[in-house]
């Protein structure tokens, strides 16, 4: 085990997979010579050369198409969006091409491509640079949607993603890049998709989240513990496929749930999660599922407004207390 930052764990996963499989290559804006906007790909050009670490023009449609086409032709591209906000320009290639080619071809074409990059909010990047869009991608059949919450998961899930034969939406959280944690050295350390992790056991209420939301839930659970409330924290890890079994098992024990999502509340992933909980565990619930989510506004720049637009651990604590009231 080595202790490293989330951002380093992402790099380690790519580096290991590129050493293992010569068909894996990287492409994106500023990932090679500039060493990555968030330094995620630092040193990779030096190790793997220009052919396998490809700087592209600022052409998100082209990047998405290049990655998809290369995957269709047998390579295993890992494409970086400098931030997921810029993927908005590439939606047609992502949705109509990457996500559908396997189905449209009746399974005759595989498309093993990973689209990755930072998402998330919190540093005053304002309205156009604060998307994560996981709700959109989870809505679209054909993608697996992966959102790691810890350094170890960043490594283990990304390795699984790179070896998967399908288009993967891999969303890192810029606000987690600096988070340190233990990461297995094992080059075969892989975390399977569709298996949620119970990050903290508890008996009174289930807090269900993913990505940075998990870290907020852990903080909230600490705070709740001081009030003698025992919260269980579930990290979904992948939104598609979704491990409802772990969620339902937890709620069968706690009978109460808070679902957490950073992005806009309306028609967000948390609504799907809540709905599935009702569909699969209605009789277990002693209170309505509480939903904690971002404000339905374009992200404001001003620090105080931004803070008000983003859910916090205090919001989760309050929601848990409502559910237990």
């Amino acid at each position: 085990m080595a202790v490293m930052r989330y951002q380093q764990a992402v790099r380690l996963a790519m580096t290991e997979e590129m050493r293992r499989d010569p068909n894996v290559f990287l492409l994106g804006e500023e990932i090679a010579q500039y060493q990555g906007t968030y330094r995620v790909t630092e040193g990779m050009l030096q190790e793997f050369g220009e052919r396998r670490v490809v700087d592209t023009p600022i052409s998100e449609i082209g990047i998405a198409g290049m990655a998809t086409g290369a995957a269709m032709a047998g390579l295993r591209p890992v494409a970086e969006f400098m931030t997921w906000s810029f993927a908005l320009s590439a939606m047609d290639q992502l949705i109509n091409h990457a996500a559908k080619i396997t189905y449209m071809s009746g399974g005759r074409i595989q498309c093993p491509v990973v689209f990755r990059g930072p998402a998330g909010v919190g540093t005053q990047l304002s309205a156009q640079h604060s998307h994560s869009l996981e709700s959109w991608f989870a809505h679209t059949p054909g993608f697996k949607v992966v959102m790691p919450a810890t350094p170890a998961d960043a490594k283990g899930l990304l390795k699984t993603a790179i070896r998967d034969n399908n288009p993967i939406i891999f969303m890192e959280h810029a606000g987690l890049y600096g988070l340190s944690g233990e990461v297995p050295d094992d080059t075969e350390f892989m975390i399977p998709f569709g298996q949620a992790a119970v990050r903290r056991e508890g008996t009174d209420i289930s807090l269900v989240a993913y990505s940075r939301g998990v870290q907020m839930c852990l903080k909230a659970a600490e705070a709740l513990a001081k009030d003698n409330i025992s919260a269980e924290v579930i990290d979904l890890r992948t939104l598609v496929p979704l491990d409802m079994a772990t969620v339902v098992a937890s709620i069968t024990k706690t009978h109460r749930a808070v679902v957490v999502q950073e992005e806009w509340r309306n028609v967000g992933f948390a609504a799907e999660l809540a709905t599935r909980i009702y569909e699969q565990a209605f009789d277990e619930l002693d209170a309505p599922v509480e939903r904690v989510a971002g404000a339905d506004v374009p992200m404001p720049y001003a620090k105080n407004l931004e803070r008000a637009a983003i859910p916090t651990d205090a919001d989760i604590v309050a929601a848990a207390k409502r559910a237990l009231a």
Binding site: F25, R51, V54, T56, P57, S59, E60, I61, G62, A64, G65, M66, A67, T68, G69, A70, A71, M72, A73, G74, L75, P77, D92, Q93, N96, H97, I101, T102, Y103, M104, S105, G106, G107, R108, I109, Q110, C111, P112, P141, G142, K144, N165, N166
Partner: protein
């Protein structure tokens, strides 16, 4: 608009057998296309449906020269001809059009999404301009693996106005990838003539602006297309660099089944214009050449017609007697294993 260089009638270094092959392939395309509207009106085919009549020389003059399946082909929703030329059987095409399990995409794709990767055919695409960004990746993969193979990417004049096409052109021009772009310049995007869709009509200049060399050629004469393609394909294999052909052609029918030579068309092109272009029908032209050279007689013509008629009828029979995909397959192929 750049003046098309109509090639002088050079003596092509082409054998009788090759000429007959070109004729046969174009006729197969034509006869297949002629059957599909009929089947649509019988409600055997659904969705959108786009015919290639008039443009046959663009596939016949190019695809047979490729090294399939190592070379790769991408095209638009107007893709029946491309599939046939790549070697997909008429049966699999027709079955796909009828949404049968025996279709080349198992019935899941339909007319706009014919595909046959085993033949190097990476498929049609329903999105105008959609295949061009994909071609960057296909070209990159060919270069990455150190092969001398090329990707041929077809698209329409209307697609020149899609942003993704320009992003992709620039990347292909910058990375110097082995892609041959074939602009199927039939002068119209649905009802919009090129004069009404672009601020500047020289499409070759648009490719050059991104670092891709190219030229404008006549696409109604299959021998001309074949000759130029031969040179250009060789050049791409040698240099690894992209090339762009703006191929002048014409679609004899409406845009698609919803613009079936009736209402819509009247608004955007005249009967005179259509019949003028029909006089340059690529199939009639090569037939005339074949006759002129004494390479074919009436009996042989009839024999070829009969053979193709049988092929198309067999395809229809095959498709109509094929099963629909099983309902359980609805959720299959969303993901690969």
């Amino acid at each position: 608009m750049a003046k098309t260089v109509v090639a002088p009638p050079t003596e092509d270094n082409i054998s009788r057998a090759e000429m007959l092959d070109l004729y046969r392939l174009m006729l197969r395309v034509r006869r297949l296309e002629e059957s599909v509207y009929r089947k649509f009106h019988e409600a055997k085919i659904g969705g959108y449906l786009h015919r290639y009549d008039g443009q046959e020389a663009l596939v016949a003059g190019i695809v047979p020269q490729l090294q399939l399946p190592q070379d790769k082909i991408l095209c638009t929703y107007r893709d029946h001809a491309h599939a046939l030329a790549c070697g997909t059987s008429a049966r699999e095409i027709m079955a796909e059009l009828m949404g049968r399990a025996t279709g080349c995409a198992g019935g899941k794709g339909g007319s706009m999404h014919l595909i046959d990767p085993d033949k190097g055919f990476l498929g049609g695409d329903g999105i105008v301009g959609g295949p061009i960004p994909i071609s960057v990746g296909v070209g990159y993969a060919l270069q990455y693996t150190g092969s001398k193979n090329i990707c041929v990417c077809y698209f329409g004049d209307g697609a020149m106005n899609q942003g993704g096409v320009h992003e992709a052109f620039n990347m292909v021009g910058l990375f110097k990838l082995p892609v041959l772009y074939i602009l199927e310049n039939n002068k119209y995007a649905m009802g919009t003539s090129v004069q009404r869709s672009t601020g500047q009509l020289d499409f070759v200049l648009k490719a050059k602006a991104h670092g891709i060399a190219g030229e404008r050629i006549d696409g109604m004469d299959v021998l001309n297309v074949r000759r130029i393609a031969e040179r250009v394909i060789k050049q791409i294999r040698e240099t690894g660099e992209p090339y762009f052909l703006d191929v002048e052609c014409y679609r004899f029918f409406g845009h698609g089944i919803g613009d079936d030579n009736t209402g819509g068309q009247k608004f955007y092109r005249s009967e005179e214009e259509v019949s003028k272009w029909r006089q340059r029908d690529p199939i009639s032209q090569i037939l005339r050449d074949l006759k002129h050279k004494g390479y074919i007689n009436d009996e042989q013509i009839e024999a070829i017609e009969a053979e193709i008629k049988a092929e198309v009828e067999d395809a229809i029979h095959f498709a109509e007697n094929s099963l629909e995909p099983p309902l359980e397959s609805l959720y299959e192929n969303v993901f690969s294993e």
